[in-house]
Each structure stands twice: as structure tokens, then as C-alpha cells.
Amino acid sequence: MATILMIDDDADLAAALRVLLEGKGHQFHTAANGELGLRRVKEIGPDLIILDVMMDRYTEGFRVAQRLRDNSDDSEYAAYREVPILVLTAVHRTTSFRFGPNEDSLPVDELLEKPVSADRLMATVERLLGRAVVRP
């Protein structure tokens, strides 16, 4: 089973995902903003990060993803560069932001627009975890 970190300021949504993911046997951790989220990444070494975009700041999730995927040699998050990131957001419809693995896009593995159904979320999580190196 995997260790999953959700970085999102919506405690109610986090509660629902805790029920869902712990019900499947995963360890589920939360952080309510980007700064706390980055700290938790170092503390728990997640196998998957579920990331919101609009938190304390409008594009806070973007900054978190960019820090985690920073390719510079001295990046403090180099050990977590390969951890899959699933963006879960409500802003896709109202912005011209682009998401995805391309160079000119936000460097994340998958984007799901809120609302997401329990079945779709689980399928996406399991697929991303299938690509991740899950720590024993």
C-alpha cells in the first residue's frame, strides 16, 4: 500500500478522500497549503501527491509543482522529483493555464477537474501508483 499526500485547503474534500483512500489500505496525509505541503513531502516521502491549485494564493499549487520538479542540481526536492503529481482543481475552466508533462506546461502527471467521482479518482490514483516506485 502507498503513502499519499494531499495538499489542499479544503478540509471537507480531504475528509472524503481520507475515507476513500484509507478504505483501500493507503496511508493518507494532508497539508492545508503549499508551504506545509512541501514540508510534509520531506517528512513522509509520499508515493503520490494530490495537489490543489487555488489555496492561500491563486496559483499556489503551481509553485509547489515547480519546486518539486525543479531540475537544478541543488534542488532540495531532488529526491522527490519522480513522485507522481495529480492535480485536482476547479480552476481549469476559468483560466488559460495549461497542464501536462510538456515543457511549456505545468509539470504534473495528471489533471482531474473538480468535481471528480470516487471511481474516477481511484482509477487515476491506482494508475499513477502503478508507475511510481512505492516504498515498502
Binding site: 479544503d10 471537507d12 474534500l13 475528509a15 472524503a16 478522500l17 475515507v19 476513500l20 478504505g23 487555488m54 491563486y58 496559483t59 503551481f62 476547479a90 480552476v91 475552466r93 476559468t94 488559460s96 493555464f97 495549461r98 511549456d104 506546461s105 505545468l106 477537474e113 473538480k114 468535481p115 471528480v116 467521482s117 470516487a118 471511481d119 479518482l121
Partner: protein
């Protein structure tokens, strides 16, 4: 990274778009996001992930889900209407969008919904050299609403979309075999929140904003829209758009 929208040379329009941006951020964060989160919570409950539900609980959770779905559709349509009224800031005179791919993509986006409703959608009568002066996002929003409406109100029927050149305009024709429009509803068709009685009967949770969004975009670009319909015998919508040189 972020791809910013181009800005125009019109300060009033830019200010309106700035207001729109603030409005969209508020609507998205304070309305759309909580509704979306609540729908996910309901989905966890409905799926039995928090424990099995009694039949009466299943029924109430399903009702809750439908109410939330309507609220989300309303917020999404309000966002689209605000965007349609103000625009993205792209200069229409310099923006050229090929019509054929735009229609093809709108038809592709509706296919899953059409299939579920037993509606056959044909979009193969489109001249492939047509291009119009319009921002691609505006054009997509207009076509999505027109094609979506045709499909929604033609259960088990057919919808065809064609486009050809008439003088210096492109003529887009959407014809459906659906429920049609009652005569008394015709004058109110493009009003915000208006819904014809036969439309309400088919889809009680419609927002009544789809055609208002279409009109807002058409007015901004100078497109003309014609509607021919008879109740019970289908509807034909004809949109004329200024052609761009290709």
C-alpha cells in the same frame, strides 16, 4: 507554465476584462470549488465507500447529487455568460479560426452525451476551406452550446451540422429532429434564464443560459442567428459569420 491572453488596445475593454477576471476568481473559489468538493463527497457516500446505505439513504443521496449537479451547471453557465459578454481580449479582426475543425471538435465533444441519449450527430457537411474572424475559444463556446442544445432536445433523434460559403459569410446550419420551439416561446428564446415549457419537460434541470451565451458571443462579433422551428417537428438554427481571407 502560464500562457497569458493577449490584451487589446481598448482600455475600457481591458478594464472590463480585469473586472471579469476578479469575478471569475471569486466565483471559482467561493462557489464552484465548494460545490465541486461537495459533489465528490456525495460520490464517496453514494459509492458506499463510507459504508453501505439503506435504500432511503441512497435515494436522498441521489437527490442531493442532482441538486448539486444543477448548481454546478448554473455556476458554469454564469462563468461562460460573463466570458461571452466581455470576451478574452483577442482582437477579432486579427483572429482567424478555421471553421471545419472547430465544428468537428464541437461534435466530438458532444458524442458521448449524444450516444447516451440515442442521438445521431452528423457533422460531415462542412466545407473545409472556411475560416472566420473569431477567437477559437469564443467559437467553441458558441458551437458547444448550439450543438449541445440540439442534442439535448432531440432524444432518440438526429442532429446535423453543416457549413458552406454564402457571399462573404460562412453559413453554419444546425438541424435537429427534436421537440421544436412553441410559437409563443420564439420571442424569448435568447433571454437569460428563459426556458420553453416543452424544454423544461425534457430537462427540468436546465439553466436557461445556453442560448443567452450564444447571443452574447454573436452580438460581440456581429454574427447573425436565424431560427426556424415548429413544435414537435424539430429546429433549424442558421448562423452567419464573416469570412476571413484564407
Amino acid at each position: 507554465m502560464v500562457s497569458p491572453r493577449p490584451t487589446s488596445q481598448n482600455p475600457d475593454a481591458d478594464r472590463a476584462r480585469g473586472d471579469l477576471g476578479r469575478f471569475l476568481r471569486i466565483v471559482t473559489h467561493d462557489l464552484r470549488q465548494p460545490i465541486a468538493a461537495t459533489r465528490t463527497i456525495v460520490s464517496v457516500l453514494a459509492g458506499g465507500h463510507a459504508g453501505p446505505l439503506l435504500p432511503s439513504q441512497t435515494d436522498l443521496v441521489a437527490r442531493l447529487g442532482r441538486r448539486l449537479e444543477f448548481m454546478q451547471a448554473l455556476v458554469d453557465d454564469l462563468i461562460d455568460l460573463a466570458t461571452a459578454n466581455v470576451g478574452s481580449g483577442v482582437d477579432a479582426a486579427r483572429s482567424v479560426t478555421p471553421l471545419g475543425p472547430a465544428i468537428g471538435e464541437a461534435c466530438s465533444r458532444i458524442q458521448a452525451i449524444a450516444h447516451a441519449a440515442g442521438v445521431v450527430v452528423q457533422c460531415d457537411g462542412v466545407e473545409d476551406t472556411l475560416a472566420v474572424h473569431a477567437d477559437a475559444a469564443d467559437l467553441a463556446l458558441m458551437l458547444d452550446n448550439l450543438v449541445g442544445n440540439a442534442v439535448k432536445y432531440s432524444p432518440g433523434g438526429r442532429v446535423s451540422v453543416s457549413a458552406d460559403r454564402v457571399g462573404d459569410t460562412a453559413r453554419v446550419v444546425l438541424a435537429d429532429t427534436g421537440i421544436g420551439i412553441p410559437d409563443e416561446a420564439r420571442a424569448h428564446l435568447f433571454e437569460e434564464f428563459f426556458r420553453a415549457p416543452n424544454a423544461k419537460a425534457i430537462d427540468p434541470l436546465g439553466t436557461g443560459l445556453g442560448l443567452a451565451i450564444v447571443k452574447a458571443i454573436a452580438d460581440r462579433y456581429g454574427f447573425t442567428i436565424g431560427v426556424e422551428s415548429a413544435e414537435g417537428r424539430g429546429t433549424t438554427v442558421t448562423v452567419r459569420l464573416p469570412l476571413a481571407a484564407t
